[in-house]
């Protein structure tokens, strides 16, 4: 009996739940502006989420998935990317999408039931929101494969949840990415729940990071409420991938403070007490405590930021609500590059009907 392979899963954290620094200090701390950018992006995300939920409650938006409490994961992931990189998000990554330049109006259009919401004016190559869980992991592998084949120093980053790690296609994408040493970073936002299924009943694996072991790539855990650690660890993985070092899987340990979506009532399956306890770990207060402690952030800064965010969100909502739906015939517009002759009578019938 000999040992032929051994694997270790490490866990990273920089800020404890009180915003105090722990462990070795990451390079990132030398860039206070970067930290403040992270902070601003998280706060904007939370404002946006709150407004979106309110819009849904009042019948002005469809089902919406808030990222409450998980803002750090998506924001830090996006912050680790260069503009020419490609983000392949899940359905709970408005934080990262906003940072990448997707507009709030676009996000609202999408969740409001309008395809134009995925025609991002900003990051033209980013993938749209992916609803069928995990099915975007193969896309991310394809994008990263394109970068590799063209010899471009670009990286794809794919975000998904703890539930997605049980999907076979996610495994297949990770396995292929490792095999081809693709410039691709997988970040799993382990918010502890997949609708009503808790992390412990998703897999017997001690960590989700070790899914990487089966796929043949490095994997690690990060405190998902610690924007600094996330930004640091994801950033290192992104730059390693960019320079040919291959893919990695990063498990961010966060918590879903909200219902799964506006269509969900989490009290059916989880204790409020659990949620209350987790509020103490949430990422925004934590980073603020750190910044305030370092005198990099003041009460006035905070007030101004909140006012700014509210104004931005409100303006976006106004534009969204003012936007008329597309004409019904638009459902034929981008079905194919050129609508095949066989389909024209259908479009004509629809247009005839809706014009009359």
């Amino acid at each position: 009996m000999t040992e032929v392979a051994a694997f270790r899963i490490k866990y990273y954290r920089c800020l404890d739940p009180n915003g105090a620094l722990v462990g070795p200090l990451p390079d990132l701390l030398e860039e206070p502006a970067a930290l403040i950018d992270l902070y601003r992006a998280m706060v904007l995300t939370r404002s946006f989420d709150a407004k979106a939920v309110a819009l849904q409650r009042t019948g002005r938006l469809g089902t919406f998935a808030s990222s409450l409490g998980q803002e750090a994961v998506s924001v830090a992931a996006a912050a680790a990317l260069a503009g020419e990189d490609v983000l392949v998000p899940s359905f709970r990554d408005q934080g990262g999408q906003l940072l990448r330049g997707v507009s709030m109006e676009e996000l609202l259009l999408y969740w409001g039931g309008d395809e134009r919401g995925s025609d991002f004016a900003g990051p033209r190559e980013d993938f749209p929101i992916c609803v069928p869980v995990g099915t975007h992991a193969p896309h991310a592998a394809g994008v990263a494969f394109a970068f590799k084949l063209r010899g471009e120093a670009r990286v794809a980053l794919c975000l998904f949840g703890d539930g997605a790690t049980s999907r076979g296609d996610v495994y297949e994408a990770m396995n292929f990415a490792a095999l081809q040493q693709l410039p691709l970073v997988f970040v799993v936002n382990n918010n502890q729940w997949a609708i009503s299924v808790p992390r412990a009943r998703q897999t017997a694996a001690e960590t989700l990071a070790q899914k990487a072991v089966g796929a043949g790539m490095p994997g690690c855990q990060v405190d998902g409420n610690d924007a600094i650690a996330l930004r640091q660890v994801i950033g290192e993985a992104v730059e390693r991938a960019r320079s040919g070092g291959g893919p990695a899987l990063i498990e961010a340990l966060s918590y879903r403070l909200s219902d799964h979506t506006t269509a969900d009532d989490a009290r059916r399956y989880r204790d409020d007490a659990e949620v209350t306890a987790r509020w103490k770990e949430e990422p925004i207060g934590r980073l603020r405590d750190y910044l305030v402690g370092k005198s990099q952030w003041t009460k006035e800064d905070e007030e101004k930021l909140l006012a700014d965010c509210a104004a931005k969100v409100d303006a976006a909502v106004e534009r969204y609500l003012a936007m008329a739906p597309m004409p019904p015939g638009a459902m034929f517009d981008h079905l194919y590059q050129d609508l095949p002759a066989a389909l024209r009578p259908q479009r004509d019938a629809l247009e005839g009907e809706t014009n009359s």
Binding site: Y110, G112, D114, S166, S196
Partner: protein, 326 residues
């Protein structure tokens, strides 16, 4: 006796089947404590325990294969896919295994499983939550495909599906989950899996539909009756194998047929019905067989979905066209 919604009737049938037969299991995402995202399994965990009502990980390629193994061992698993939009990874197991196990082992191993999923548009749901792709299953030999159109039918057909010794794909019109109540007697009586239902009688034209579209079809029929056009409305209900005889018998009387389904026109199950008419019903046809269906497009997101689904107005228009033939 009880006035129930369609989703409540589904739940009642599941409870009944679980109570009657200890081989019955319910599996799927969030079917336990949460009771399913539409509450179709609400209370079942509490009543039957976690060995009978099993929350699964998020592994859609697995469930039907798992059910195949359970079924071969004598269980009768009822697997829920949360939405039809997430059922496609199961087609491999349905087609390559569930549909074939009895045949390929000459009856040694069997596959008494049910695969449930809500389908269809009209509830302002997110992307990928609104498709009607029953045609994918209706093309697979060796299975049954069933779609109920009312609470009582949901109860009786689901019981039949669970008791059936072969694999059944059971698709539920989620747009109808809560729109209307119907008296459903929990008498454990199943409905036949090889017969259409005649929902309405009329001599002038035969309207054929199933699932959610029966609603607009019936409404259209009522409206047309006001103008003196009396329609027979047939709910196909069991799309595979299909009871073409009932449809043919009706068209033999009326000579006219309009088929209504929410799925995209091309490749939809309506084509199979029209083909049956073009063959065995041809001599009786007085007018072209028309189909009112979803367009051959991606189902648009919520803002436009109402324009996608066959409307009462479109059905009426087609019936009028068909009536115009002498």
């Amino acid at each position: 006796m009880n006035a129930l919604t369609l989703v409540e009737a589904v739940r009642l049938a599941l409870a009944r089947a679980l109570a009657d037969d200890e081989q019955v299991l319910v599996l799927g995402e969030d079917v336990g404590l949460d009771g399913g995202v539409f509450r179709a399994t609400e209370g079942l965990l509490e009543r039957f325990g976690k060995d009978r009502v099993v929350d699964t990980p998020l592994s859609e390629s697995l469930f039907v294969g798992l059910a195949v193994g359970l079924g071969a061992q004598g269980f009768r698993p009822v697997v829920e896919y949360q939405f039809m939009g997430f059922i496609y990874p199961a087609i491999d197991q349905v087609l390559n295994h569930a549909a074939r196990l009895r045949n390929r082992t000459r009856g040694r191993l069997t596959c008494p499983i049910v695969v449930r999923a809500p389908y269809g548009a009209g509830i302002h749901a997110p992307e990928h939550h609104s498709e009607s792709m029953e045609a994918l299953f209706a093309a697979i030999p060796g299975i049954r495909v069933v779609i109920p159109s009312s609470p009582a039918k949901a109860y009786g057909l689901l019981l039949a599906a669970i008791r059936d010794p072969d694999p059944v794909v059971f698709l539920e019109p989620k747009r109808l989950y809560r729109v209307a109540k119907e008296t459903v007697d929990d008498d454990g009586e199943s409905l036949p899996l090889d017969r259409c239902f005649r929902l309405r009688e009329g001599d002038d034209v035969t309207l054929v539909s199933w699932g959610a579209s029966t609603k607009e079809t019936l409404a259209a029929a009522e409206r047309l009756a006001g103008d003196g056009i009396e329609a027979t409305v047939i709910d196909v209900a069991t799309l595979k194998p299909m009871d073409m005889e009932t449809i043919l018998a009706s068209v033999e009387q009326t000579g006219r047929c309009v088929i209504v389904h929410e799925a995209p026109l091309s490749g939809g199950v309506g084509g199979e019905i029209a083909a049956g008419l073009a063959d065995r019903g041809l001599v009786h046809l007085l007018a072209p067989v028309r189909r009112v269906a979803g367009y051959d497009t991606v189902v648009p997101l919520a803002r436009l979905e109402a324009h996608y689904m066959p409307s009462e107005a479109r059905i009426i228009e087609e019936v009028r066209k068909v009536m115009a033939y002498q």
